[in-house]
């Protein structure tokens, strides 16, 4: 099982974005350094560009994606994944999440229930079988593994 460590400031950004955007889905980019343990040091929110029901869908515009790649190169960071929220749903990756998943990226999901932040889970595509594998999420300040 892969392990992803999300530092406290990145976790707060994800939680606050999820709460602020509730009942719609939020989304954003995750940066850090890859290694035996993938370390997420920075989360940057981005506009949910989905036309239609944002309570259960998110989409990131291609131009925002290109900016995110450029930001990583300019700041010597790795673009390691995407986060989004599941309002009033568990943080389990759905078939819609899987449909467009890319290899390598961590897909971090936070469950926001009734406007409050709940569990964070992370998923990575197993490319050969096109299924998601759950990553072990390590949140250092809480010294806990979810």
């Amino acid at each position: 099982m892969n392990t992803i460590q999300i530092n406290d400031s990145a976790k707060k950004v994800i939680q606050e974005d999820g709460i602020k955007t509730f009942p719609n889905e939020c989304c954003g980019f995750l940066y850090g350094k890859d290694g035996e343990i993938r370390s997420i040091d920075l989360a940057i929110p981005v506009i949910n560009d989905k036309e239609g029901d944002q309570r259960r869908r998110f989409e990131i515009s291609p131009l925002d994606y290109m900016k995110a790649e450029k930001y990583a190169l300019e700041n010597d960071l790795d673009l390691l994944g995407i986060y989004h929220s599941h309002p009033n749903h568990p943080a389990i990756a759905s078939e819609h999440d899987l449909a467009k998943a890319m290899p390598f990226f961590s897909y971090v999901i936070i469950s926001i229930r009734n406007g409050e932040a709940h569990e964070i889970q992370s998923w990575r595509l197993k490319d050969s079988e096109r299924i998601f594998e759950e990553e072990k999420v390590f949140l250092p300040q809480e010294n806990s593994v979810i």
């Binding site: 869908r57 989409e59 290109m66 790649e69």
Partner: protein, 92 residues
């Protein structure tokens, strides 16, 4: 030579290179050349009929090729081509 920017999720197929140069004269030639050189990339960018997959966007500079001449869009020595994966999903 024109450059192709490889998105982070696909760099493992280009030996971690973020950009790859191309000799192609059109977007189609450039993408085919890239896919031939880096076989692992192919299934993520092209479908079984060698068409660009629906969830991959190709940009020339800041322009989506769908607003230009699609795969037939010509490229110059200073052209920068970006491969942009669709990022989308949702809870249920």
């Amino acid at each position: 030579m024109a450059k192709i920017i490889i998105p982070s999720p696909l760099r493992k197929f280009t030996e971690n290179q973020s950009t790859v140069v191309t000799n192609g004269a059109t977007v189609q030639e450039a993408i085919l050349e890239l896919s031939e050189k880096h076989q692992g990339l192919k299934k993520h960018i092209l479908d079984g009929e060698s068409n660009i997959r629906s969830f991959i966007r190709i940009y020339v500079g800041d322009e989506d090729i769908n607003a230009l001449e699609k795969e037939a869009t010509s490229i110059a020595d200073d052209t920068i081509i970006s491969i942009v994966p669709a990022i989308a999903g949702g809870s249920y």
